[in-house]
């Protein structure tokens, strides 16, 4: 690979209390495309931000909002995957 500067993506996924971006963080996942950090399941009991809005204020860019999808008929009381999943990114420059 040629030497020089490259831009890499860091991803932050936040699971919020409601569909509102400024609601509380309940769960989180991180992937670091710069290779500097290595996140894995159960590696932290401290959330990175208290709310989704706090991540925005720290420079993370929202790249996916959770859609509001009505429940399928018959599944109105069924719980499954986490709702309110917001995906954020930061682009960082690294030396390659």
């Amino acid at each position: 690979m040629a030497s020089g500067k490259q831009r890499r993506q860091k991803l932050l996924i936040l699971y919020l209390n409601t569909s509102a971006l400024d609601s509380d963080v309940k769960g989180w996942t991180m992937y670091d495309g710069t290779g500097r950090e290595h996140h894995t399941t159960g590696d932290s009991d401290r959330r990175p931000y208290a709310t989704g809005m706090d991540a925005l204020l720290d420079g993370w860019r929202v790249i996916q909002f959770p859609q509001l999808i009505p429940p399928y008929p018959g599944l109105e009381y069924t719980t499954s995957f986490k709702k309110n999943e917001y995906i954020f990114e930061k682009l960082e420059t690294i030396d390659s």
């Binding site: 409601t18 769960g27 989180w28 159960g42």
Partner: protein
């Protein structure tokens, strides 16, 4: 049959229904823990065909059998899956020293929509400090309908529990609980024995129900702000990771399981179901 004193009580059962697990720290004596570790390090333990009556598994001498036949352990199992459940499978789970990452979050087997539940017992025969990982479990995740590793994207939740414990500790889990093996950052192998048991009788009032009475299911004031610790309060307690909306639905799920386990079709928590079930058809007479 277990002596009544070793069976779970109704508040413990409510805790299991609400959170999907019960934890018993250090209840297995050291001599059994040491014998189990010797057996693991000597190459493992014999298994049995799926569906074998549990009473035919682990005949003496067997350190795992000695653990499972402890009166307290027998009482826990009987309370949840009856006196002679079926052996499903077992495994000795190992987490390698200094491994690169944790196992992904998952639910065992495949998506399972029954009210009847299988029980998974996890036994930790040696001390598990935090740096060794411990099994990670997510309390109250057992009703979420997911299929195995589909939830591996989820890394951390508020309220998740890393099983940090002393030797001889036991977890009993509803089959649906999300869990994973946390990363082992030590230079020692981590062992955990797991067995899955299927009930062979209807799971109806199998525990010590002496403490159940009319008050257990009586409607209570809503939003009264009381600090209670009765069955309804246990079933109403939110987990820190729940979303606002789905958290309420989890209480409905718990209520339905409690009705199933007690046979009390009118039981409710917080009036959530009674309100929905109120559809009067009687017409006002003139």
């Amino acid at each position: 049959m277990s002596d009544k004193q070793h069976l779970l009580d109704s508040r413990q059962m409510a805790e299991f229904v609400a959170r999907g697990f019960l934890r018993f720290d250090g209840i297995v004596p050291d001599e059994i823990n040491r014998a189990v570790m010797d057996a693991f390090e000597a190459g493992g333990i014999s298994s049995y065909p799926a569906g074998t009556p549990f009473s035919e598994c682990y005949p003496e001498p067997s350190p795992i059998g000695a653990m499972l036949r402890l009166p307290q352990v027998s009482g826990i199992l009987e309370s949840l899956v009856g006196p002679d459940p079926r052996f499903d499978h077992h495994a000795i789970h190992k987490r390698l020293p200094n491994e690169g990452k944790a196992q992904g979050m998952h639910g065992d087997s495949i998506i399972d929509t029954r009210l009847h539940f299988d029980l998974q017992l996890m036994y930790f025969p040696h001390d598990v400090p935090l740096e060794m990982g411990g099994t990670l479990l997510l309390p109250g995740s057992h009703f979420r309908r997911i299929n195995e590793m589909e939830v591996a994207r989820y890394q951390n939740f508020l309220g998740q529990i890393p099983m940090v414990c002393e030797a001889g500790s036991i977890l009993v889990l509803h089959h649906g609980i999300w869990h994973c093996g946390r990363q082992n950052r030590t230079d020692r192998m981590r062992y955990m024995y797991k067995i899955r048991l299927n009930p062979s009788v209807r799971q109806l009032r199998l525990w010590n129900t002496d403490d159940l009475n009319d008050e257990t299911g009586a409607h209570q004031p809503i939003f009264a702000g009381e600090k209670r610790d009765d069955v309804q309060a246990i079933l109403a307690k939110m987990e820190p990771w729940y979303e606002a909306g789905d958290g309420r639905l989890e209480i409905v799920n718990r209520t339905l399981l409690w009705r199933f386990l007690t046979g009390d079709e009118n039981f409710d928590v917080h009036y959530w179901l009674t309100r929905l079930e109120n559809m009067p058809e009687n017409r006002l007479s003139a």
